[in-house]
Amino acid sequence: MSGLDRRAVVAELLRAPAECPGGELLVVTGLGSTTYDAGAAGDRPENFYLWGAMGGAAMIGLGIALAQPDRRVLVLTGDGEALMGMGALSTVAARAPGNLSIVVMDNGQFGETGHQASHTALGTDLAAVAAGCGWKTTLTVSTMADVATLRLRARHEVLFAVIKISTAEVPRFLPPRDAAALTTRFRGALGIAAD
């Protein structure tokens, strides 16, 4: 089967999260498999997992990035989630925060709901869409060597990357899903006092 192993990709992308300008990398994942991938790579308070709000990952990342200009934000999402929030690629590019990158794990299908083909398997090239929205650096990655390079680039540059991953099933890993608890610990890790 073609495409990279998603767990190996995310384990590499999120490896050594403290090796990041401004402190621990802040991560927002999309509803579905990227939430499981990030949890499997190691649960940490600076991960905010979406278990709903499909299409919202990029804009949540923008809100964090604007509020925390000295920190780096990585939005790690899937092709289906990115497609649902495609307008946000335009909105984020227009605002152009200097501390936010988006990485899309693209297996060309809606894996959570029965492996229906997604639009990226039917003609949509999300990296080209992002470029058309004004993202100055877009790339498509299909080797682990390039993922290793992307790990650091995504923490130092502003970029939109698509990683071509395998459709193979991986063991389910379920990180915490209490959104209020996830919110409190994320803010706590940033040193934000309760209101």
């Binding site: 990342g61 809100g63 964090i64 604007l66 909105t91 227009a94 605002r95 209020a180």
Partner: protein, 176 residues
């Protein structure tokens, strides 16, 4: 009170409430607020392609320690409904100011269905809905609603009625 002066007062109320991020999908009724926000170097201002983006951005602002407000018109409320579950589930504050269409001297019938349903659907999603009909009450209502949203960490919407903002006037060419 003129439209400009009450809108300046509403902007001051948002500033007093500590709002640092404003997301909007443009509406003529919000034009003055949007203009003030863009002129304010201490405000992050983001124009959205669709209103649900602003709901998600406000949730991100809360995660990052800032307060946000979404400006939209009533037709846009329909685009936000699932995303409003996000701040609710996070137990995060959410504040939105909504200019109403389809309720007072409306020319365009396409605005009526969503305008009529706005309060009902927001309430169904657990949003606390306040309504301002007069210029002499709107600043206090926005201030109190912002306080409620940010201190009680709940979603709050303020409807700026079409009577308050003034119905959009369409002028037909002579003889048409």
């Amino acid at each position: 009170m003129t439209a400009t002066s009450w809108q300046d007062g509403v902007y001051a109320a948002l500033k007093n409430a500590g709002v640092r991020q404003i997301a909007y999908v443009p509406d003529a009724g919000h034009a003055r607020l949007i203009q003030l926000a863009h002129a304010d170097n201490d405000m992050h201002v983001v124009v959205c392609t669709t209103e649900e983006e602003g709901v998600a951005m406000a949730a991100g602002a809360h995660l990052g320690g800032q307060r946000a407000c979404l400006l939209m018109q009533s037709s846009g409320v329909g685009n936000t409904i699932n995303m409003i579950g996000l701040p609710t589930t996070m137990r995060a504050p959410f504040l939105t100011l909504i200019t109403m269409r389809g309720e007072w001297g409306e020319f365009n019938g396409w605005q009526v269905p969503m305008g009529t349903a706005t309060e009902t659907v927001l309430t169904a999603m657990g949003v606390h809905v306040k309504r301002a009909d007069r210029a002499d009450e709107v600043i206090d209502i926005v201030a109190a609603s912002a306080y409620l949203a940010f201190h009680s960490a709940i979603p709050v919407a303020v409807l700026l009625s079409q009577r308050l903002i003034g119905a959009k006037v369409f002028v037909k060419p002579e003889g048409n």
